[in-house]
């Protein structure tokens, strides 16, 4: 299989997954803000940090108003932001266009159709949920078409590598929303430190103040990841922070949980040639994930931990790229 084709397929599924998960990210924040008392909310700024796009957001105007309309527009249909839903779908489409002969035709039509839908619909506040729902469903359909019609050869391994790597990354980012909003009293974020992440402290008092809302918020996170039902079936206890975190980080059965994604990556990589370095990077990451003591994380250090996981994923990507895409 040509390196270029492998690379295009990998990025195509990464971008589709990114579009879907960005839609989920916006949904979870919308719901969280509705549930939280107005005075305690941190608003929409965390989302900009979570997707690592603060420099792009503030590029043209350092004092750009960080309100719902601006942030949502930035995440949905800002073509200058490479991580927006429209940019992700456009990039997925471009990647697929050059490799159309490798993937089933219906998948191309679906991606093309989804891109055109997103291009032609700029959602109003009221229409936003429906728009995001269609993006999520559309992305799921693409996954289904690929799963239902592609032979399980190397090409499909790259479909899954892109898919699960991006999903693992985005699940951690969605969890980060929770931590950011939880820490809403610790306000100052250092805006412009390059690709910097949010630097916040967690006063214990904040936690207690938020408690009445806590389980509602965690439910909202679960729902945004289509995880609520599975969580209830598997965990069977009331929805609590440590349990939800454990579920979404370490569960090996739920398909949006980070551990599940990493296991899938392991299965795919083992089928491919020249996988040693990538497997080593993956093993290190899995070990870090499994060794984490989640109850403690839920009190302190979640953000830093998520940061480490994201760095691990990025190193894994580098190893995949080095082995298969560039010679």
């Amino acid at each position: 299989m040509l390196s270029r084709v492998a690379q295009n397929i990998y990025w195509m599924t990464r971008y589709v997954e990114r579009a879907e998960d960005t839609a989920r990210l916006i949904n979870v924040n919308t719901n969280l803000l509705l549930d939280l008392p107005r005075t305690t909310t941190f608003g929409w700024l965390p989302l900009i940090f979570i997707v690592g796009a603060e420099s792009q957001f503030f590029e043209k105007d350092p004092h750009r108003l960080v309100d719902e309309a601006n942030v949502v527009r930035f995440l949905i249909n800002d073509r200058d932001h490479p991580g927006s839903i429209i940019s992700s779908l456009a990039a997925a489409r471009e990647n697929l266009r050059t490799t159309r002969d490798t993937v089933p035709r219906e998948a191309w039509e679906q991606i093309n159709g989804l891109y055109i839908y997103a291009r032609d619909h700029v959602p109003s506040r009221r229409g936003r949920y429906e728009f995001l729902r269609r993006v999520i469903l559309g992305a799921q359909q693409i996954g289904g078409l690929l799963a239902g019609a592609m032979s399980r050869t190397a090409a499909y391994d790259f479909v899954r590598l892109g898919h699960y790597l991006e999903r693992a990354d985005m699940t951690t980012r969605i969890l980060d929303v929770r931590s950011a909003n939880l820490l809403s009293h610790a306000r100052q974020t250092q805006q412009s430190q390059g690709q910097s992440q949010m630097q916040t402290q967690t006063p214990a008092s904040t936690q207690e103040e938020q408690d009445p809302f806590e389980s509602i918020q965690w439910m909202s996170v679960l729902k945004s990841l289509s995880a609520y039902q599975m969580y209830r079936q598997q965990v069977r206890v009331r929805v609590s922070g440590p349990d939800v975190l454990k579920f979404l980080l370490q569960d090996e059965y739920f398909p949006r949980a980070v551990a599940f994604c990493l296991r899938q990556l392991d299965i795919c990589l083992r089928k491919l040639p020249r996988h040693d370095a990538a497997l080593a990077a993956l093993a290190a990451l899995r070990q870090k994930l499994n060794a984490a003591t989640v109850p403690e994380l839920s009190r302190e250090g979640l953000h830093d931990f998520i940061d480490e996981v994201q760095i691990g994923l990025s190193q894994l990507h580098d190893q995949i790229a080095a082995a298969y895409f560039a010679h």
Binding site: M1, L2, R4, A6, D101, L272, R274, Y324, H327
Partner: protein, 485 residues
């Protein structure tokens, strides 16, 4: 209103492929015409819609340069096939083989001893001004002495019914995928017709192409690695490139997928590492093939590719430099070329051509621009042409200047009364002008000519321009055995 062939507007000013103006449907077309006449309007419309749907679903597209966002367009297709009797086609096929054989000898000669120039059959100054002669290729001997492995020659029929060669495409001729897809669509739309008629199949082209390409491999014996090299998705023929790669089961590569190693061999980058490539069916023009040998700004090519080819470590089809014979001035010399190398008379005639480089011809051309078609020597796709009878005085004046400035670059031909073929236009059968592009494969076990070829049709009433980039469409082409009919 079903089709009544007696109302079909066949005239004596054009030869119609299916209908003789006096006697109605020609023998080879009789079964088709009767069948079409037996269909109601609604049925006919249904078939047309079915074909359009097939084309959409099968994703048969071509690309237009000027359209930014959506670059793929559905391939315009007419459901009424064009028919050529088998006996007539056999003669055309022999003529094409003869022609391509002579052209390959000619190219090989130009890059070696240039005997034809020394013998004063072909003028040295024509070669000296050739845009497609590549000095970098002098002295190279491709396998079997073949340079133009894939040739697409355009055939037209004049009023008298005789077939002429209009031009030879020896660089990167395209269209064969549409020929194959047209047959597929027609079979789906008119399956009944294939049951009791002897319509010659076309489907083995990609097998023949693969066999031919594989036979060029510098490493014979094992399974050679063959690839199709495309300039990428923005090329108008990208559909064809990916189609042919798929049908042959080989990789479709871009320049960036290939590299030339220190051992002067060509490798492609795969997920398993570098893999040696033996044969490249390149669909990139000469000048973009190798930035080291040709245009240094080419981002489409592969550095060092020409070096690898010269060393014999990789086969290129068509060979670089083959385009030297794909020149409208060279075209005018083809009858002499056939005579010189094969000592035969051409089996298919050339369209009479005036060379503007010859003073006498030039005088005639300049005085008769309103009757002639003027063509630049090295353009394809119907670009840069003057169709005298349809041109405005201003356009003609511009061509007078162009010809005076660069006479070597222009030839002129009488306006041909291109033949017509019945075409379904808004529920009515109307004559539309057609040509035919067969494809000839050389260099393999045996020279192969497609059964028929791609019939292109000018869908606009009265138009003679059949190029898909300029509003042309296509038809399925049937070679029908009429023996015993």
């Amino acid at each position: 209103m079903t089709i009544e062939w007696q109302h079909y507007a066949a005239t004596d000013s054009y030869y119609d492929e299916l209908i003789a103006s006096a006697t109605g449907p020609r023998p080879a077309a009789r079964a088709l015409c009767e069948y079409l006449a037996s269909l109601s309007d609604a049925e006919l419309r249904e078939r047309k819609t079915a074909a359009e749907l097939d084309i959409l679903v099968m994703g048969i597209t071509f690309t237009v340069y000027t359209e930014g966002g959506s670059i793929d367009r559905a391939w315009p297709f007419d459901i009424v096939p064009r028919i050529i009797p088998r006996q007539e086609w056999d003669r055309a096929e022999a003529g094409l083989k003869q022609r391509v054989q002579a052209l390959n000898l000619f190219i090989d000669d130009l890059y070696h001893e240039q005997k034809i120039i020394k013998d004063a059959v072909f003028p040295a100054e024509v070669l000296a001004q050739s845009a497609n002669f590549r000095p970098q290729c002098v002295g190279v001997s491709p396998r079997h002495g073949v340079w133009a492995h894939i040739c697409g020659s355009d055939l037209v029929r004049d009023k008298d019914g005789a077939i002429y060669v209009l031009e030879d495409n020896l660089r990167v001729p395209s269209g064969v995928s549409y020929m194959l897809e047209n047959r597929l669509v027609t079979k789906r739309v008119f399956p009944e017709l294939f049951e009791y008629q002897r319509i010659q199949p076309v489907d083995d082209y990609t097998l023949r192409l693969y066999d031919m390409l594989a036979s060029l491999s510098p490493r014979p014996g094992d399974h050679p690695t063959v690839v199709v090299l495309t300039p990428g998705i923005y090329n108008s023929a990208y559909f064809e490139h990916s189609y042919l790669a798929q049908q042959m089961g080989v990789e479709l590569v871009e320049g960036s997928d290939l590299e030339v190693g220190d051992d002067d061999c060509v490798y492609m980058r795969t997920i398993e590492g570098l893999e040696r490539v033996d044969v490249i069916y390149r669909r990139i023009d000469d000048l973009f093939l190798d930035p080291k040998a040709f245009r240094p700004d080419s981002a489409l090519g592969v550095k060092g590719l020409l070096r690898a080819w010269r060393k014999g470590n990789v086969a290129l089809a068509n060979a670089p430099g083959a385009g030297v014979a794909d020149d409208k001035v060279v075209y005018a010399f083809v009858p002499e070329i056939i005579k010189y190398y094969l000592d035969q008379d051409p089996l298919i005639a050339n369209v009479p051509s005036y060379l503007c480089m010859r003073e006498k011809d030039r005088g005639y051309v300049l005085a008769n621009l309103d009757k002639l078609v003027v063509k630049p020597a090295n353009e394809s796709g119907g670009y840069g042409m003057l169709v005298g009878p349809h041109a405005t005085p201003a356009e003609r004046k511009r061509f007078v200047e162009l010809i005076r400035k660069d006479p070597r670059n222009y030839i002129a031909q009488p306006t041909l009364a291109l033949s017509t073929s019945p075409t379904l236009c808004d529920d009515r059968m109307e004559p539309r002008h057609v040509d035919l592009r067969p494809f000839i494969l050389s260099g393999g076990p045996a020279t192969y000519v497609t059964t028929g070829g791609l019939t292109r049709v000018a869908l606009k009433k009265g138009s003679l321009v059949v190029n898909s980039s300029q509003g042309g469409g296509s038809k399925d082409t049937w070679i029908v055995d009429t023996e015993g009919l």
